[in-house]
């Protein structure tokens, strides 16, 4: 039996959600149709609204609905300290730690020329311009430890060299509460290299 066209289209489009395959998409579609049409309507409206209404902050490129995001618009945050991250989800994770009170610069990706992601696509030209204008005192790299993240960090390192901007990278080491025997070798190597006097 084939699904009716509208049901089939709903199932097909649901698979664009991460972690949702054809089976869960079918389960979701039937659940909404059988039990929660109002919820489905609200979700459809919220999704259409967000896809068109959520833009990027003019200063840090994070998601924003005004010209500036809530971090850049907050006068209590230190604007001269900027943390570079790959994605808005990283901003969220750092904010939840409650440890950082500066601004962000969100690349919306990492350097990956084969995927068409060069410095321009990541807004690194904008960041370079702001560095040149002396707006920033300290740059903290929080890109990931993948090949692309390392390449991005390297690129920014080269960009900062010769300026007075202080550049650092968040520490790589053993995670809190982690059992040492389950930590991989590369992380342990980083943890040893980054050891600090007590």
């Amino acid at each position: 039996m084939k699904h009716s066209p509208r049901v089939q289209r709903l199932i097909d489009t649901l698979t664009c959600l991460p972690g949702v395959g054809p089976r869960s998409a079918q389960r979701m579609a039937y659940h909404l149709l059988e039990r929660n049409r109002d919820g489905g309507r609200l979700l459809a409206a919220a999704m259409a609204d967000a896809m068109d209404g959520v833009q990027q902050c003019q200063r840090c490129r994070n998601f924003a609905e005004e010209a500036l995001c809530s971090v850049c618009a907050d006068p209590r945050r230190q604007a001269r300290q900027v943390c570079v991250v790959a994605s808005p989800a990283d901003v969220l994770a750092i904010e939840q730690s409650g440890e950082y009170h500066g601004h962000y610069f969100v690349l919306m990706g990492q350097l990956s020329p084969l995927d068409g992601l060069g410095p321009r696509q990541l807004g690194l030209d904008v960041l370079e311009q702001r560095l040149g204008e002396g707006e920033i005192d300290e740059l903290i790299l929080a890109t990931s430890t993948t090949v692309e993240g390392e390449a991005t960090a390297h690129y920014i390192h080269d960009m900062v060299e010769g300026t007075t901007v202080s550049l650092s990278r968040i520490a790589q080491g053993v995670p809190m509460g982690g059992d040492l025997e389950y930590v991989d070798g590369a992380t342990l190597a980083h943890a040893f290299r980054g050891r600090r006097p007590l």
Copy 2:
């Protein structure tokens, strides 16, 4: 950090999907916003369209976009044989087995008076009327083996009693490919009671 209003509303409404909690909802929202806004727009449109455009078949109550669903509209199906199921997902499962060539009657739930699901809400009055009009020769119960499913089966059994309609229930027993040692006692008891001569 709080999400911006539109992002927060998208995350909140995504949790109406089955198996999606706040964490996965956030991941889904960020994924769509960062990487697949077109997919999100298509999904929103398909969902709005399905919630309003998918109705119930006038004859069997299954999902349909026309007056009749594809099963009821198919002249090759045996209309005098009707299988009673709880939900459209059950129809799909039975259709995939390829074994059944009659019509369906979809209750869209099972008897559960405490939840406000009485015979009327399940369309059992309509089914009774059709039985009375002599439209149906054979009724096959495929409601689930839960308390509500058993109550529903019992109610339909009482309804059919005294008519010439042949009533049966799909077999309960050991599933195909199942290892006997992992089958629960109640299922095994049903399998013994339902044993058939070879």
